[in-house]
Structures are given as structure tokens and as C-alpha cells.
């Protein structure tokens, strides 16, 4: 498929498609981070993760509308308020869902998949009834429009860059939370040995609820960021959920670094191949390669070496 291109042309194609793939990378990272902590730490498959993300997006949409009508002077900074609101709304709903549903299913991981799929159907239809089937978008503040010109060929839109910065800072924040805080230490203790963690006085049920809420909250922030680069509709979340699960599994379920690396690899592979093949064939090839590698390395790229 590389016939008829000189090597310098190929280089610039790769560079161009690489930059284009960065926005897909941000979406993958933002969605996958929330999933990773829920799936990797608790073994729960949250198929409604995409819908939590959309909830964050709708929260942002409402906030932006509120600022436009009542506080037009502060519109430039509405996004930061929206992000916090999205986190709180989604985390609250996440805690509720955990209490009503997930906590009864911890020893049946496959059943969490079915139950959360049902939840996702209900949430999708609720969005459709409340907000309508049409996609909604938000108006960007002035400072987010425009683009940096890196070279003649390569342009970086500011909103895309902004979303990427959010994605990376959430990743860093999550790393610090998981590996440098008391809460993170408790979470990892529960994951590694639940009865022993309980024996030393860790409230494992509380940790589970907090972790689930945190994962859902991150999904909400992801949704808020998502509105900056595209419009959202009731079923946009489902469009990404399978890809994102592959990202998580491919990276190794309990590894944050692995998640980021695999999100980068998959988004770049897809974006580069899109130039040479059709979009759908690029996606098929990427998924097939990922499935193939997963068959060779079922635990993912960067699995923790634990004796089971």
C-alpha cells in the first residue's frame, strides 16, 4: 500500500496523519482511564461508561447555555465550571448505581456486563426523551478557536490541543492518586487481597463505591472535554465503547501506562492506515491486529506480573 510514494512523502504523510490521530487518542485516553480503574481495580465491566460520558457532555451543554443567558461576561471560563459539575453529577450517579446494582454482582463479572448494558439502554433512551435525538454542540469561547501552525503541512487546532492537555493531566492526576495517596494504597490493597485488606481494617465496600464513582466522574470530565471537539447525541457513547474496551484490555487491565500506550498505538495505527485505505478497512485492520496480539498476549501489553 506504500507504492508510489517517496520516502519523504511518506514521512510527511505519517506526520500529518499522526497529528490527525491525536484527537482520537484524546478520546480514547479520556474514556479508557475511567474504564481502567473500574475494570482493572474492581473487575466490573461498565458497558454504560459511554453513557456516563454523554451525561457529562449534556451537563456541559446545559452549563454553557446557562452561562450564555445569565453570565455572558464569564463565558470564557465556563468550561472549567462545567468540568467540575460534570464530574460531580456523574460521580453521584455512579455511586448510586454502585449501591443499587453493582455491589450485588461483584462475584459475577460477566453479569455486570449485562446489567450495565441494560443501564446504558435506559440512559440512552432517557437522553433521547429529554434532549431529543439530534446531536447537540456547545459554542466555544473565543480563545479556543483558531490553530497553531507548526509547519506548512501541519496545523494544530487549539481546542484539540486543549482536550489533549486535559487528557494527559487527568492521567497524571490519576497516577498520583493511585500510587501516591493513601486512598490509592487502599484501593490496591483491596485489589490484591480483599480478605486481608478487610482484616487490617480497610472498608472495602466503601473503597469499591468510591472507585466506581471516581471512574464515572472521570467519564463525565471526558464527556465535558468531548464537547470541545465534536457534537454529542444520545448514542455517541456506544459508538466508542467497544474500541475503548479493546484499548483497556490491550494495554493490560491494571496498568495506567499501558492504557495510554495502547490508546496511542491504536489511534495512530488507525489514523495512519486511513490515509492509505478506506476508513472502514483501516478500522477492521486495526481491530484485527489488536485481537491477534491479544490472542498472543491475553493479559495485555503491560500486565502486572502477579502470581495468581
Amino acid at each position: 500500500m506504500f507504492d508510489g510514494y517517496t520516502s519523504s512523502e511518506l514521512m510527511s504523510i505519517f506526520a500529518m496523519q499522526g497529528f490527525a490521530g491525536l484527537s482520537l487518542f484524546s478520546v480514547f485516553v479520556l474514556m479508557a482511564l475511567g474504564l481502567t480503574i473500574i475494570f482493572g481495580q474492581m473487575g466490573v465491566i461498565n458497558m454504560a461508561h459511554g453513557e456516563f460520558m454523554i451525561l457529562g457532555a449534556y451537563t456541559t451543554y446545559l452549563t454553557s447555555g446557562f452561562f450564555q443567558s445569565y453570565l455572558p461576561g464569564l463565558f470564557g471560563g465556563y468550561f472549567f465550571i462545567a468540568m467540575i459539575l460534570a464530574f460531580l453529577v456523574c460521580a453521584a450517579l455512579g455511586a448510586l448505581v454502585e449501591w443499587l446494582m453493582i455491589r450485588h454482582l461483584y462475584h459475577r463479572p460477566l453479569d455486570t456486563l449485562l446489567a450495565t448494558w441494560g443501564l446504558s439502554l435506559i440512559m440512552q433512551q432517557a437522553y433521547r426523551s429529554i434532549f431529543g435525538a439530534r446531536e447537540v454542540g456547545v459554542d466555544l469561547p473565543q480563545w479556543m478557536l483558531g490553530a497553531f501552525n507548526v509547519t506548512d503541512l501541519v496545523q494544530l487546532p487549539i481546542n484539540g490541543l486543549f482536550v489533549m492537555i486535559i487528557a494527559l493531566s487527568i492521567a497524571v492526576g490519576l497516577y498520583l492518586l493511585m500510587y501516591r495517596s493513601g486512598y490509592g494504597r487502599k484501593v490496591r490493597a483491596v485489589v490484591q487481597n480483599r480478605p486481608m485488606a478487610e482484616a487490617v481494617g480497610i472498608n472495602s465496600a466503601g473503597i469499591d463505591r468510591a472507585t466506581f464513582a471516581l471512574g464515572c466522574g472521570i467519564a463525565g470530565v471526558a464527556g465535558a472535554a468531548f464537547t470541545m471537539i465534536g457534537s454529542t447525541g444520545p448514542s455517541s457513547g456506544q459508538a466508542y465503547i467497544v474500541d475503548t474496551f479493546l484499548v483497556v484490555v490491550f494495554g493490560g487491565a491494571q496498568s495506567l501506562i499501558g492504557t495510554i500506550v495502547s490508546a496511542f498505538g491504536i489511534s495512530q495505527a488507525q489514523s495512519t492506515m486511513e490515509f492509505f485505505l478506506s476508513g472502514s478497512m483501516a478500522k477492521v485492520l486495526t481491530l484485527l491486529v489488536v485481537i491477534g496480539i491479544l490472542m498472543l498476549r491475553p493479559e495485555g501489553l503491560m500486565a502486572l506480573k502477579v502470581r495468581r
Binding site: 460477566l110 441494560g118 443501564l119 439502554l121 433512551q125 481491530l287 484485527l288
Partner: protein, 399 residues
Amino acid sequence: MKTSSPLKWFASREGLYYLGLAALLVIILPLILDPFRLNMVGKYLTYAFVAIGLVMCWGKAGILSLGQGVFFGLGGYCMAMFLKLEASTPEATAIQSTPGIPDFMDWNQLTELPWFWEPFHSFSFTLLAVIGVPVLLAFVIGLAMFTRRVGGVYFAIITQAIAAVLTILIIGQQGFTGGVNGITDLQTLKGWDIRTDEARNILYFVCVGMLFLVLFVARFVQNSKLGRILVAMNAQETRVRFSGYDVAAFKIFVFCLAAAFAGVGGAMFTLIVGFMSPSFIGIVASIEMVIFCALGGRLSILGAVYGALLVNAAKSGFSESFPELWPFAMGALFIGVVLAFPNGMAGLYQTYVMPLEDKIFRRNKAKATAAPKPEATRPTADKTDDYDPIIDRYSPEKS
């Protein structure tokens, strides 16, 4: 579970269940439904094939495949390709720029038949492919996954991704597959018009016949030693492996069996509905197939049939009168079945109806000593009860 003669078996409790289902499908439904509705029931029954496969694969052996739509679709597409070629004679397609190829290929500027379409001129090859292609794919997937001990959640996600790959491929390769519209305008099967009411009636009964064939195969497997190994594997895989059984081989077998059932179901679907399209086989469709099985009861092959019938009937009913409500109902179904009654309708039946039956049966037995001993056809204990949650969560096969 050995029975000395078929007649005696039909008088046993399990035999009566099968007779009841047969009476419902062969006598009651055809009498009370008009041809259009009966055709719809036939369509629902084709999903029951998949659900029976899922009972064997997920309920018994604990392998949740979220990609059964793939096998359903492969079977369906194989049949559709044969029918399409039969409908695309040079005379019937004379207005095309290259007569003799299916119409959608002509629209997509294809001038000759792709190589993989060629064998589908032969009916016997098609019949073989309906089962062979899904089984072959299932075998390859199973071999790659189970020998590497990929299981549980990972297997579910990967099969789901495979379902995504297949639908994207079918939609993307419009010239070869008919794209998002699927393969439509199918007319005859070996010269026999499948669109008339009479043909649809006959196809319905053929479908019921095939369904019972599949039910008996599934029953044979679940009552054999192999079936008990599958159940044991689900509960304590490591112990079964240490007892010297090749766990991967059993898993591959049951996965292939489920794929074969799904392929037959898909082929019947194409015949009954008259076309095949990617919307019946994608991720959403595949996961709905799991709920047919879960609602009926994940441990009961007869329950799977009732589950497929009920969910689909409810879906048709709801979407006709309250299209808004159906997703809510479906979502509630998923959550309710999983949380409140994991063994589905069959489990409820067992808990509430069977004790009553026991009383009646016992009274009969007191009167006539020759009456057959009631047999429990399904494992009675909720299998999640004697699960060790710690082993379940931390053993590599289940994680």
C-alpha cells in the same frame, strides 16, 4: 437419565415439557395466528437456535460469547448468497451492464462475480457452508483463545470486537456484500417461490422441525458425560484440568456447537424473512441474543426457546404501540434478570411451579406404581450459591 423406550420418555416429566412446546408450536400457534404473524413467530424461532447454543456455551460451560450474531450472520449470509445467485440469472438481470451477477454488484461497478461467491451456485455446498463456515471460524477463535486460557470477560470483549469487525467489513465492502442494505430481493429456493403464504407456512414447520432437532442434540450433549464435564468446568476449571481433562478441547467443542446452532438459525432466518442485513448480526443484535437466553433461563435449553419467543414478541408489541418505551423495557429486562432472577424463567418455574407438580406426580405414583419416576432435568441448586467468590474473582480463568 437413561430411558428404556421413547414412549416412556414422552410420559416422563421432561418428555411432557417437550410435548408441550411441540403442541404450542405445531398446533396452537398455527391455529390462532394468521400467516403474517406465524411468519413472525418463525423469525423469533430462528433466534431460539442461537439462544440454545448460548445455553450450552454460556449457561453450562461459562463461556459468554457476545459475538453469536457473527455465526448467525455467517449462516444467514451463506444461504442468502445462494438465493441471490439463483435470483440473478442472466435473463432476470438483463438490464444490467453485466447480466448474471447480483444487482448490488452491478451498482458498485463490479463486472464479474468475486471468487468466494462462485461455490454458492451449488446447493449442497451452501448447506455445508451454513454449518461449516461458522464452525470453522468458531474453531479458529476457540483454538486461539482457549489454548491460551483466555476466558471470561476477556473472551466476551474479544468476541464483541469480532462482531464489530464483521459488521464494519460487511458495510464497508458494499460491492461484495450488499453493504448496509444487506442481500435483498431473494425469490426462490431451487425454483420454489419462498415468498408465498404457503411457502412461508411450510418454512415455519421446517423451522420447528429443525428446532427440535437442535433441541435433541443439545439435550443429548447436556445429558452425556461431556455435558457434566462442561458444568464442572464452569464451577471449578482448575480442578477439572488437574483431573486430566483437556479443558481447552471441551471449550472449543461447545463453542463450535453453539456456532453451528447459530449458523442453522441464521440460514432459517434468511429463508423465513427473505433477506439478510448487517443490522441483525452486529454488536447490539448479538448482545440481545444473550438476553433471550438469560430471560428463558441460562441453564435450560427449553427456557431459551421461550425466552427468544417472549422477548421478540414483546419487542414487536412494544415497538408497534410505544416505540419510546421499548429501550426502557429492554434495559429493565437486562438489569432485572441479572439482579433478581439469574436463572430466568426456567429458574422461577423450578422454584414455584415444580413443587406443585411434585405433589401431583407423587399422588399419581401412589395410585399407579408403574408411573415413571420424576426426573429433575436441570441442576437444582443456584450455581452461584456454592461459588467461592474469592476463587472466582482471582483465578486467572475467571478474571
